[in-house]
């Protein structure tokens, strides 16, 4: 690493950490000022909430990058060790360098955010400090741990080149501290939505910090944010590679490097993106459990149209990911064999997104209502309900997975029969499949024994629980048969049958059955969604295990021509990155907005002049602006980090001469 990035890292980091600590030291002093009426301060005539919105979102975005990239880096480094391919190691190293530049900015923004919170919202921060001050000290200490492990991880890269697992262990420590920081910060954000430990009459906090930390929304928020951070890290890496590929790559070797890097970034992002809707569903479900008012407001109230916008952005990401797969197949010999299937997949994706983006409640004029015979469209109203949404979300994931399988096998020719691959498939296919299938099997039996009274349903409704249970048993049975077929060299047929069945059961059968449950046993609907997730995970993972052995050591029809990717495929990667950044901003708006006029839901009311919920127009303009600032800022940081490369290259050139 050159001197430039070293100075950014050390000076900026120290200043930011000092600011952060000063913020916590100042907290008790400010907290004394909070007893009594709600208190707000402002900076001149500036809108305090808008300032908070922009700074908090930028901090979160940089935070997502500096926490997502270490996960990305360590995975890539381990792949490099396992495969012996130095490109992986170089890529992990390159991104750790970018990380160090972004780290100081993240910490500085965090310090600014803390000062603004204590300065502009003293009463709110007084409450939060009163509840969480213990964890705030831990948070600051974790920051030291993160800083030092990042230093060691980056600077020991060459020194520990021949002791890579020791280096990976340092990376593990870096990720441990990064993860711990997220977990602590998430507890504050989730407590604002689901506060605990409060006296029901006086609303005074009489619990303990640990109890408040593990509040009901903490775990689902952790799962959702962790996965989202990996997606974010992967897509930022992919976009960085795309820009380098299109703009700065000087020769074929560099183009090949950045083409490949973009592929890996996209691959990691997509891999984490596939379970993200499930994590989102889990979080949403828990929001409903904490407060039905907040939950209904989310999907059926003030934010229902914001969720349509969210669907639009997710559609953008999935379509861009699939488009990238298809256009990138141009550089893979033998991929033309699969070209015919692409249009059908595109059709399925577009149809699924059309359903996903159909609102249940249309804003109609009286004349329009008369024309369609009521407030709801006679057909489209069904597409706006949860069963339809769940069905198509699963279909989108399934189609993307199928596309991934096609991409994987695009240049694979003659395969080695599984029966001739020795003992490993005979052991691993059954073992992995058994691990995957155990829980769906258990859940099927659980549904059969489920007492309707637990869901406040009359006893006769138990018969409605059987259908999803039987579907789970069918899926497990077919998955077992698929594994057997794979061992007898019928893997590809088995995969098709398994994935086809999964699609039919999840989308067709349970998609329709969900409407019956909605009408007859509404509380059971959430169990239907769980069954859909289990069927999908079961189908995907078993098909993937089979695929690994099916194409192991297969003959290749030609190397992938890295560096030959068309420019439009790189624009797809840039689009993905923009969409995930905007999506993060949009979801942050929804999560914060659900509290409406409460700083801490049901405990501390927001009595400021800005306690109302902004419109979607305000949201898209603000999030668009924040995205522009973030991508410009991180672009500048990458450019600064890249200056040291040039310096090193010119130094090497000088030595060579």
């Amino acid at each position: 690493m050159g001197d430039g990035s070293r100075s950014v890292f050390s000076r900026g980091g120290v200043v930011a950490l000092f600011g952060l600590l000063a913020c916590f030291v100042a907290a008790p002093v400010l907290a004394q000022d909070v007893v009594g009426e709600a208190q707000y301060r402002s900076i001149g005539d500036l809108d305090s909430r808008m300032i908070m919105w922009v700074v908090a979102e930028l901090h979160l975005m940089f935070g997502a990058f500096v926490l997502g990239v270490p996960i990305f880096a360590i995975i890539v480094e381990i792949i490099g060790i396992q495969t012996g391919d130095k490109r992986y190691d170089d890529m992990a190293h390159e991104f750790t360098k970018l990380l160090s530049a972004a780290f100081a900015t993240t910490a500085a923004l965090g310090g600014l955010l803390g000062f603004l919170l204590f300065g502009l919202y003293p009463q709110f921060m007084g409450h939060l400090t009163g509840v969480f001050h213990g964890s705030m000290y831990v948070y600051a200490l974790l920051f030291f741990g993160e800083t030092f492990s990042l230093y060691i991880y980056y600077y020991s890269w060459d020194r520990l080149a021949d002791r890579k697992w020791v280096h990976v262990a340092v990376g593990g420590a870096l990720n441990f501290f990064g993860l711990a920081i997220v977990l602590v910060a998430n507890s504050w954000a989730s407590y604002m939505m689901s506060p605990v430990g409060l006296d029901p009459d006086t609303l005074a906090f009489n619990g303990d910090t640990w109890g408040a930390l593990i509040n009901p929304l903490w775990l689902p928020l952790n799962v959702h944010r962790l996965l989202a951070n990996i997606v974010f890290g992967g897509f930022v890496v992919a976009a960085y590679s795309a820009v380098r590929f299109l703009v700065t790559a000087k020769n074929d070797e560099e183009r090949a490097h950045y083409d490949w890097m973009g592929y890996v970034g996209n691959f990691v992002g997509i891999l984490a993106l596939i379970p993200l809707p499930f994590a989102g569903y889990y979080l949403g479900r828990e929001v409903y459990s904490v407060s039905p008012v907040m939950g209904n407001n989310m999907m059926g109230g003030a934010f229902s149209w914001t969720f349509i916008l969210q669907a639009l952005l997710i559609a953008m990401i999935f379509l861009a990911a699939n488009y990238y797969f298809w256009t990138s197949m141009d550089r893979i010999q033998g991929s033309n064999r699969y070209a015919g299937s692409i249009k059908w997949m595109l059709f399925l994706l577009l149809a699924a997104f059309a359903v996903w983006m159909t609102p249940h409640n249309l804003p109609l004029s009286a004349a329009e209502q008369i024309r369609i015979g009521g407030q709801y469209h006679p057909v489209l109203k069904y597409l706006g309900l949860m069963p339809a949404k769940n069905a198509v979300v699963n279909l989108i994931i399934l189609v993307t997975f199928a596309n991934f399988l096609i991409y994987r096998r695009a240049n694979q020719g003659e395969t080695v029969p599984v029966s001739q691959q020795g003992q490993s498939p005979k052991l691993l296919i059954p073992i992995v499949s058994a691990m995957v299938l155990a829980y769906p099997l258990y859940y099927g039996f659980y549904l059969l024994g489920l007492d309707p009274a637990e869901l406040d349903l009359p006893a006769e409704k138990a018969s409605l629980f059987r259908v999803p249970a039987y579907l789970l048993f069918i899926e497990v049975m077919v998955a077992v048969l698929a594994c057997v077929a794979a061992l007898y060299d019928r893997g590809r047929l088995a995969q098709m049958v398994l994935l086809g069945l999964t699609g039919i059961l999840v989308t067709g059968v349970l998609g329709v059955y969900g409407f019956e449950i909605l009408e007859k046993a509404n509380p059971f609907l959430r169990n239907i969604a769980v069954v859909q997730v289990l069927l999908m995970i079961c189908g995907i993972l078993v098909a993937l295990v089979i695929d690994i052995f099916e194409f192991r050591n297969a003959e290749t029809l030609g190397d992938i021509r890295w560096g030959d990717a068309p420019a439009r495929s790189q624009y797809a990667l840039i689009l993905q990155c923009l969409a995930i950044v905007m999506l993060m901003g949009l979801m942050g708006f929804i999560r914060s907005g659900l509290r409406e006029d409460w700083h801490i839901y049901g405990v501390l009311r927001d009595t400021s002049a800005q306690s109302w919920t902004p419109t979607n127009a305000t949201m898209t303009i603000t999030v668009g602006f924040i995205t522009l600032v973030f991508v410009s800022w991180i672009g500048v940081l990458f450019w600064i980090a890249g200056l040291s490369d040039k310096k090193e290259q010119s130094a090497q050139g000088g030595e060579g001469a």
Partner: protein
Amino acid sequence: MNPHVIGIPAFGLAVLLVFAFFGIWVTDLQGQKSGGSQLSGDISAEAGREIFWGKGKCYTCHSIGGEGSAQRCPNLGTNDQFSDPIWVRAAVRKQSEGYSRERYIVESIYDPNAYVVEGFSKGLMKPINKPPIALTDDEITSVIAYLLTEAGANDAVPEDVMAAVLDAQRDFASAKVATEEFVPGMPVPEGDAEEGFYVFEEMKCHSCHKIDGMEFEAAGDAEGGVGPDLTGIGDIQTLEYLAESVMDPNAIIVAGDGFKGDDGNSKMPEFHDTMTLREFIDLVAFLSSLKAEG
């Protein structure tokens, strides 16, 4: 020059602009307005409608007939499941327990889990007078008025029905009565005068107000005389006047020595935020019961 140097920023800006304009279009489509809304303080069916479909968030779970889209909680109008609207079916729902229509509706707002309609989840609805919704008692009265006017189809709630609502509400309302929530001239339902006696005593009203023929447990500091003698006050003042005097002592200050302080205001302290709606109604009933002959 590499075309992508211009192409990438242009592409990025185009994506951001499309996103921003889509938000503007959706906002326009929804008719969504920016900023907060201010409700009037009146108790009326009209205010109830505004609360039901706005601040009260009732619409996130309940529809009324074809109005609204929520299905999570019972439709309060008619649909495939319910042939009668709530203002009809409430009358018979807990009839066997002696509940009136008004009492059932009041209970289902203050204590929603006391009776849960079959097929709907228990625990889904929280008491509406508690956070996070935290409607005031008056706002709840308005929502009930809205429902009892057949969701706004009729002009007004008959007075006897309104009195029954307020009477039922007395048993559930727990929020302290705030001056700003008290609207002069609001109908005061019949309270329990005997309970009102104890409220009078607990609030130490007898420290300043004398009532001939009555004894109270704790002696007041001023031994009476700072405030007007309340003996027989029920003969000469209406319920509404008495209610206003309790909540806003400065509204009308009786002429007499020592009733006003140096600042020209009544010496009587403010009692807002110190008693519940039920205590308030009972206290007013007690004052109204003070007849000269009694």
